[in-house]
Symmetry: C2
Subunit: 248 residues, 2 copies
């Protein structure tokens, strides 16, 4: 884990293209400069390295600058589940605020970088900037909504509906970040997808094959092309709601 003093890099929130997804949303440029002074360092992670681990004391929350991370929640008996995949602009570590201790592991799925937001400093600044405060509340709230949708997915959708929603959700989030919505690289293994969706890796693999036969997708290794988005939408059922709003 590689800490980089921010001075080593010209990048600041005020110039960051991810501003539209991250903390600064809705802030005046004056206020964003105050946020700049809050973010005094960044963390660079190699693939597989943890940003934090379940049980670590919380000192900071994080904004993903580039890369992809997964968060996973583990049981004492070793069983664990991936609860989220996270893209640039998303905040991580929020589940640690309640107990001053992170409740999950956050692990890089590829080389990644995250902005470090010391939480005490952040709360202080949020008291001074109403729109920063409100944006933070919105981020937390949307996180809750996202989880609710995920819960509904695990609780009531069938395997193929879950996978189709998952692909469409990824597509939406990537396209909001300027990537192609039709063709992208899956940063996670079949097993990780399965864990996230509450199904076995074999089922994921079979479904990918089935989707391919039906002409819905093309997939080669982890490079996927969504050929028939409407067909996927159909499959995902009216469950489109699961991924349409929370593009961030």
């Amino acid at each position: 884990m590689n800490h980089i003093p921010v001075s080593a890099s010209p990048n600041k929130c005020s110039t960051c293209v991810l501003g539209q997804f991250c903390l600064p949303v809705g802030l005046s440029s004056d206020d964003i400069q105050k946020v700049d002074s809050l973010v005094t360092e960044r963390v660079r992670l190699k693939k597989g390295e943890p940003l934090y681990r379940q049980g670590d004391a919380l000192t900071a929350i994080y904004g993903i600058r580039f890369g992809t991370l997964k968060t996973e929640y583990a049981l004492p008996d070793g069983r664990e589940q991936i609860t989220g995949f996270h893209l640039p602009g998303e905040m991580l570590g929020l589940d640690g605020i309640g107990e001053n201790t992170y409740q999950s592991n956050a692990i890089a799925l590829e080389d990644s970088e995250a902005c470090v937001v010391r939480f005490n400093d952040f709360e202080q600044l949020a008291r001074q900037l109403p729109s920063l405060q409100n944006q933070f509340h919105k981020i937390l709230s949307r996180e809750l909504t996202q989880d609710q949708r995920h819960l509904l997915s695990l609780g009531t959708l069938r395997a193929e509906e879950r996978l189709a929603s998952f692909l469409l959700n990824l597509s939406d989030r990537l396209s909001a970040r300027g990537y192609s919505p039709h063709e992208f690289h899956l940063r996670m293994s079949r097993e990780e997808i399965g864990s996230y969706l509450g199904i076995q890796l074999e089922t994921v693999s079979r479904l990918f094959s089935r989707f391919t036969e039906s002409g819905l997708i093309q997939i080669k290794q982890r490079h996927i092309k969504l050929v028939d988005t409407d067909g996927l939408l159909e499959l995902a059922g009216k469950s489109r709601a699961i991924h349409c709003t929370h593009v961030q």
Copy 2:
């Protein structure tokens, strides 16, 4: 839905026994009085009445004063899932902050009452009271953790493990509120339990019968007695983590 001006009742946060679960945690008595002035009304609900509905504009968040509510998240195609059961002292409506619109239905499972916290006023006060601000962040964060545990339950536990965890979780939360941890009344139907746990009502019923045969519980209608808590813990697997921390 029955709005009651708070002046009609002598009850305030400063005298409320639920203070240990609700917003005022960690506040000085001076500060709690400021919260008192924030809560200008309460809502009384009859069984089956909604506190808010998916799509309603958010103006307030709520603290449950007495009673039990469920929150449910619906798909356009009519399928829906219960995402939570909520006891006195818990905050509701938080999922509405992100879009200024509630994302779920909150419905009373019995006659209930909730304190109305106008959200704009609340944010303003939170900027003035660091410990109120921090407590709110903790509440939101714990909600996230709770959802993560629920996700793990739906994604990786088997039906009997889910039900056992559910019972132990309820038991813990009730006992934290001064009720017996061993014997209580289920406010929700088998169908609602099933929806929450991602299984069918028939499965819930069968499992209750099985648990009874095994001497783990006694159940008559909705009155349940946990006879062999250790046995239930065993069944819930080492998944005790799912319900041990978040007692609030």
